[in-house]
Subunit: 154 residues, 2 copies
DNA sequence: TGAAACCCTGAAGCCACTCCAGGGTCAACC
DNA sequence: GGTTGACCCTGGAGTGGCTTCAGGGTTTCA
């Protein structure tokens, strides 16, 4: 099966498949005489697994760990459980902070009902006032969800 | 005020301040004779504003739009309202999809209570089975929140 | 005097792709 | 035989919001 066919069967972009191969998530497929990739059913299953995990919002590094675990069937599955638990914890924290954010934004939005001059806009005034207040507090500001997803460990 | 002092007063990394300057969110400060940046209170307020908006998870582009609006005090504030409304919508959608995800992950986690051999691990088996099922369906898999935040417009 | 803390610039790295340029290959059609 | 269009290849750059690094200069304090 060529890359286009695989892409279609898993609803993935061909570029994404090449990307997974380069990252080592998919084993390098055989090549036809013209250099085209030739995938087999193992690749299909593996790609589907990867996409399913991605749909559960796992990172490629986490998926790699699952794939590694899968290739040691006799090992203990504690790592897998820990991975999922960890993932769930992070997710729940993110949901909580996004809900808090929603409250704040909703309160902010209620500051300006209709169109006014920018000068009189409750939203902009509120944003400015809170920002200035936080400086004179010396409190600083916590950056919300998504912005810093604990990615860079270096 | 030098960059370190500004950084501390807003709880921001000095690198982040240089980054905002490069991106045009902060106006270029004056320079001392040795080349060090010299910030004034306007910079402090502006930086605090930016950080506050970032804490509300706005993108730098959105913040730029707010700053632009702020510098035209006589204009109509409809744009600002629309921006916040839009932001709220996106946020609510993300929360909903993350909650759905939480359900799925919780169900998955309940497949394996304690330590077993990987081979017998309910989590891994479930992941594999669902993935293979979705291929034979020809259904493909939807990628969840965060992964594709409508970034690339090009 | 020397060490530590601060500052500078420019570039590269992170994540998970996506898109592009500039080419090759292949089948169908005229 | 030529052309068109769909597919494939590689390598590199771009996305957002920073962070880290390399390799220097400056200031401050003991």
């Amino acid at each position: 099966m060529r890359i286009g066919e695989l892409a279609q069967s898993c609803c993935v972009d061909a570029d994404t498949i090449r990307f997974y191969e380069k990252r080592g998530l998919l084993p390098p497929p055989q090549r036809q005489s013209n250099g085209y990739r030739s995938f087999d059913t193992q690749h299909v299953e593996r790609l589907a697994f990867i996409r399913h995990c991605r749909a559960l919002d796992m990172s490629l590094a986490e998926i790699q760990r699952l794939l590694d675990a899968g290739s040691h069937p006799d090992a203990d599955c504690g790592d897998i459980n820990a991975l999922i638990d960890n993932h769930l914890d992070t997710l729940r924290q993110r949901i909580a902070s996004m809900q808090a954010l929603e409250q704040q934004l909703q309160a902010l939005r209620s500051r300006c009902g209709e169109h006014r001059a920018v000068e009189a806009c409750g939203i902009l005034n509120e944003l400015t006032a809170v920002a200035i207040g936080s400086v004179s507090d010396g409190a600083g500001v916590e950056i919300g969800p998504g912005a810093d997803d604990g990615a860079g460990e270096r």
